[in-house]
Symmetry: C3
Subunit: 327 residues, 3 copies
């Protein structure tokens, strides 16, 4: 592990150090498990108490909280500074470059510099993998897939043929990109498969959690914008177009052909019917449901099913509670 | 890619062609991405406008919409005709027959003609795989499994020992068939595992989406009827019996011992308690929940939790909205 | 299959046999599929009727139900006795010990006695695997992972580096343990990854269903207590601490930093916001949602979103139904 002095760390995060500036740190921790070589952070009075009473070698915190006798770094956004410093203190281990002998890589696949392909991984014909990307054990990289540089596919990820990932994309285990969308035509008696000929394009710096799935478009492209973060067990249907810097929590279901602008936030278990439009900056409360073809307006916060402005919904819940008591 | 004239395509779908009958088509697309060699379709005035203004070589549409000067094929159900013609224009690529040297196939497994087994796939003892079935990379085909002809198991599918698939079954990546059901007996202090000795039988023409799971019966058989289509991230519990031609959207949870008749439709995130019965043709609205041991009547449309007839629920929602405004 | 007389089975379960005590049984079944060599059980008048009319060789039931002319074993808890006897009658087949030649096991991984590692499984550097544990085909056992004895990892399970499993843990296919939690810091424009440096510790006798995921702690440890059972497609967020002997049904979402005491029961599709506390013995009804930072009290039964005492919620539902009718 690398080691830095408090002085060096303060410079990295443009903070102001107090106390023992030459103290050497080599790790990061939560206050309860911290040792004298660890950095911790606090972003409230409550967490500051724990941090200042801990054995940590140094505490990141803002100017407002007193810290008599402690070695601290004063910084405007302690949590953000902590996240950035940890990248230096505890750099993520990446598997060594090279193709494992028990991997299967098609003769015409093109691997960039320092790519890692783990055992039992399969890279199919025509796939193109960017420099330093990691394809872990058990991954399937389908025919003609294009993966940017510095991506990390954890174990047992599946990419269907033809999908595209940008740079620095992280896919956790069990993620499936490019499976056929749920599209059928009912002929009066049975469902006939509607062609799922499109593809998926995922931007830069996207992270997708374990066992989530993004379906290929029927015709055209399912898109996930750069910087968007998706939690575990999320479903993104065919032809969805999602903007940049969205945050989508676990078990959310996004039906086919939804359009989601940038900086949208969805809490856990939210559901969108097909062809829903969510405008920029909207926030969807946990478990709420938006009916097909509806729009959630720019910056709105909605809750309940069918989703309505949160103020209205809270008044309705309060009215219902009163009604229940009366009866 | 194969090529067909407009005349040939019209014959295939029993439609009536107008315009340049000798024009050759070799693809299919959505209107916005179509080129002169592409077929498109329209099934409403709105989509007809886009289709007729597109660069597509030919438009499938019904008799009601004018299309002056365009090459079109008139047909009663344009979307259905499109789905069927695309099978000819853009036939799905199937991997070449053969067992990859990095696959593991038990000595006594029986593979039909032209079966494909991809790298890192494992076919265990006594498995029987039908003609032309594809077992992609990373799949696990458990001991004694029986798979019909023309099935397609995408990468990283897992079949537990003893399960049965019919013909033309499509399983997307991450699907798990035959895991133990969630069955325990509480002894007053801890949960003891109730035996999960049964199996799973899946009919013909079933398609199951990415990361969905169908549990084996405790005793007996969990069944999915022919023609039923299941979306991604769906849970089907032990001893469920599901009929033919159902459509089950993403993130639906079906508890143990539910009985679901044919032609049932469930929208996303619906939940059924154990021993629920859903009669034929019922439609369950998104996120609704049916309580254990309840029945949803033949052809009913229900919504809300607990699920109730949709008319009742909409009146209740309207009443609640009024109440919220008054207070 | 082993064979036991009715007399022997009665002794094993401390029951009282009536009828043909020398009859030999070699299997277990549900009444509808039972043959003369099968054991069945009944725990209600309704199931007793089916069991007594079946072809089963012996019926487990309590003292209250008459069974003239039948070979039965009287026992206080028939279902529990059945579960235990089935372990003898139908012992689970475990794959033969040994490392498959198409597995990949790091040179410094330590495997206990009689460990099974299937084809295409990968055991990474420094992993320690207990005696008799089964690592099925396609599993990825990350660097430095510690797995106790008698565990069973079904096909395509993924363990991230550094996680710990106790003894007799069962992980079904597609389970992902130790993926990064959903933690970011918003810098006003984009999300920066908050370090996910912690780990996961899973106790003894835990069973986790297909395609469920348990995220590693950001800092510290995500814990699942001994004896807890988790169904398919469940999300357990980072830094969750779950007690012993909980039962968590399918599609439940547990957000980061929730604390769940022992003997908690959650029905399907329940959702918890972050930092929720669920006290011992609480029961959460299907699809209910607990808001962030809220507590559900010891032994309480709650339902609805936001979750409230079930009595209150049922009164509110009844009041709403009346209101809907009036209007």
């Amino acid at each position: 592990m690398p080691e830095y002095t408090v002085r060096e760390l303060a410079e990295f995060c443009e903070g102001r150090a107090e106390g023992d500036l030459d103290r050497r740190l080599s790790g990061a921790a939560a206050p309860e498990g911290a040792t004298v070589t660890d950095l911790v952070f606090a972003d409230s009075e409550r967490t500051a108490r724990a941090a200042l009473q801990s054995s940590a070698g140094c505490v990141l915190l803002d100017e407002s909280l007193p810290a008599p006798g402690r070695t601290v770094i004063r910084v405007r956004q302690p949590k953000l500074a902590f996240a950035r410093l940890v990248v230096r203190l505890c750099p993520a281990r990446r598997p060594a470059p090279g193709v494992h002998p028990q991997a299967s890589v098609a003769a015409d696949a093109r691997l960039g510099r320092d790519v890692h392909v783990g055992p039992s991984a399969a890279v199919e014909a025509g796939a193109v993998i960017g420099d330093r990307t990691v394809v872990s054990s058990g991954c399937v990289v389908g025919e003609g897939t294009r993966i940017g540089p510095d991506c990390f596919l954890h174990g047992n990820v599946t990419l269907y043929p033809g999908v595209t990932l940008g740079a620095r994309v992280i896919l956790h285990s069990g993620v499936v990109i490019g499976a056929d969308g749920f599209g059928y035509v009912f002929n009066g008696k049975s469902y006939e498969k509607f062609p799922q000929l499109g593809t998926v394009e995922i931007g830069d710096d996207v992270e997708i959690g374990a066992n989530s799935s993004v379906d290929r478009a029927a015709l055209g492209v399912t898109r996930i914008g750069s910087g968007t973060k998706i939690d575990n067990l999320v479903q993104v249907g065919h032809n969805v177009v999602m903007g940049e810097h969205c945050a989508i929590a676990s078990l959310v279901g996004i039906s086919g052909s939804c359009t989601i602008d940038h900086h949208v936030v969805m809490a856990g278990q939210v559901g969108l019917g097909d062809h829903v439009r969510i405008e920029a900056g909207a926030v969807l409360g946990g478990q709420c449901g938006v009916l097909p073809h509806k729009t959630v307006k720019r910056g709105a916060t909605v809750w309940g099913t069918p989703a309505r402005p949160i103020k209205d919904y809270l008044r309705q819940l309060a009215a219902l509670a009163r009604l229940g008591k009366k009866s």
